[in-house]
């Protein structure tokens, strides 16, 4: 059993290393989304432990493969809206860390639900000079309308970075804005950090009990 496990992780490592050398700057944003999506899905399909529900390992995989392509600073700033400007550098740092953890967990939940749906990668409609683009992917499932996933991406010095994800027309960043601002209004930015931290420590496996609303 341990042998299989270490074999699997060696295989995983091999795949990771094999893909890593692609220079981020040279890759177009739609190509990047396609490569990363197919890689991740492929890795999950090959990994018995992840498919058996090993959430920690799934988080590790997301950390390694997906996170480098996200700009969490921008995401947190957008989700906070006006309150971002009132935060100290230290608060900004902690907020970004907590929000990042929360998003990874959410992303892991979404990936865990993946079951061999097909993807339709839409051609990018942008000029070569554009530095802010939307990459569209559709998840196809028999008998239902395809679910569109739109990645808002910005060109940075270290390649294209995602700063928002829209699933079925729902912007993740915008969806957190009201929640975050409610908490900030009630208990300040430190209150939000505390709140996020408590949520994140609610355990990886068990979903947090619904908070009693006062």
């Amino acid at each position: 059993m341990t042998k299989i496990r270490s074999l699997a992780s060696v295989a995983l490592l091999g795949v990771l290393v094999g893909v890593a050398p692609v220079r981020a700057q040279e890759v177009s944003p739609d190509q990047l989304v396609k490569t990363v999506t197919l890689d991740v899905v492929d890795l999950i399909a090959k990994d018995k432990e992840i498919r058996a529900g090993n959430r920690a390992k799934l988080v590790e995989l997301i950390d390694a493969k997906v996170l480098p392509h996200f700009n969490f600073n921008a995401m947190t700033a957008l989700a906070l809206g006006q309150s971002w400007n009132k935060a100290t550098p230290e608060q900004k740092k902690r907020l970004t860390e907590e929000f990042r953890t929360l998003l990874v967990r959410t992303y892991a939940s979404a990936l865990a639900a993946y079951s061999e749906q097909k993807f339709d990668f839409r051609p990018l409609r942008a000029k070569p000079t554009d530095t802010d683009v939307t990459v569209q992917v559709r998840v196809l499932q028999p008998g239902t309308q395809p679910v569109p996933i739109d990645y808002s991406m910005e060109k940075t010095a270290s390649g294209w970075k995602v700063y928002d994800v829209m699933v079925g027309g729902v912007s993740l960043v915008a969806n957190y804005r009201t929640e975050f601002n409610n908490v900030v209004r009630e208990s300040g930015i430190d209150g939000l950090v505390k709140n996020l931290n408590a949520k994140n420590r609610g355990g990886l496996e068990a979903p947090a009990a619904p908070a009693a609303k006062k």
Binding site: G143, G168, G169, S171, A174, R177, N195, P207, A211
Partner: protein, 246 residues
């Protein structure tokens, strides 16, 4: 007109509980909505989720696909009607072509052959049609058992249900059985989504409300909603209204 009467009635009923400060302008009935939300959540946890989970465990995916297709086919007829009402004739014709092919070649809809032929399934309902005609969402509402809605979509849902071909099915016990299967399938398909919601949200009520409003706005414009005001402007305007007295 109907909308206005319903709105007036609703305002009269709910006026009593609209007093707390810092109310989201899109959700003037938040306290009542939260009450109904809690009730729905209890019913969901106690009945709907266990039934849906058992269904998903007991019935193979292949068969669940057939069930989903069967009810999807029934829905396609009025999806077509709504596309016509919105002036999207090509889409409407495509929806009716789906019904024609899936009902016959697809054996009463259990096989979605139309998708393979290039007729994509659409998502339309009367709420979206009203939105397309220019109706705003109105206040956000949580309907008992049905969940997230708003004034426009609530009225739309009423018409959706009233016109649903399933309502013609007799005897009644067969009709109710079909509704039950349809809701079970629907809930089973949403099990993953609700788990993700648990994971993502600090306040499930707020998260779900905002997602619903965003989603519906996107659907009204078929995935291409006009750009909204900058969120900061928007928020700023609302906040100012609340804060000025101080």
């Amino acid at each position: 007109m109907t909308a206005r009467i319903a709105a007036a009635a609703l305002v009269a009923v709910l006026a009593g509980c609209a007093s707390t400060a810092q109310r989201d302008p899109r959700d003037p009935f938040e306290p009542l909505n939260r009450g109904i939300y809690r009730f729905n959540d209890k019913v969901d946890v106690a009945i709907a989720q266990p039934v849906a989970r058992t269904y998903r465990r007991a019935v193979p995916g292949e068969i669940r696909d057939r069930v989903r297709n069967f009810f999807g086919n029934i829905g396609d007829f009025f999806i077509g009607v709504n596309n016509f009402l919105q002036g999207k004739f090509e889409d409407g014709v495509s929806d009716w072509a789906r019904v024609a092919f899936n009902t016959t070649v697809g054996l009463l809809g259990i096989h979605d052959v139309a998708t393979d032929m290039g007729y994509e399934k659409h998502n339309e309902d009367f709420g979206q049609t009203f939105g397309r005609w220019g109706a705003g969402p109105g206040p956000y509402l949580v309907l008992p058992l049905l969940g997230s809605s708003d004034l426009r979509d609530g009225i739309g849902t009423g018409i959706d249900v009233y016109t649903d071909p399933l309502g013609e099915v007799r005897p009644y016990h067969l009709q109710y059985g079909l509704w039950a299967v349809r809701f079970t399938q629907l809930r089973a398909d949403l099990l993953d989504a609700s788990r993700i919601l648990e994971e993502a949200a600090l306040d499930k009520y707020v998260f779900q409300r905002d997602a619903y409003l965003q989603r519906r706005r996107s659907l009204v414009y078929d995935g291409h909603p006009p750009r909204e005001k900058e969120p900061d402007e928007d928020k700023g305007a609302d906040d100012d209204k609340d804060k000025k007295p101080r």
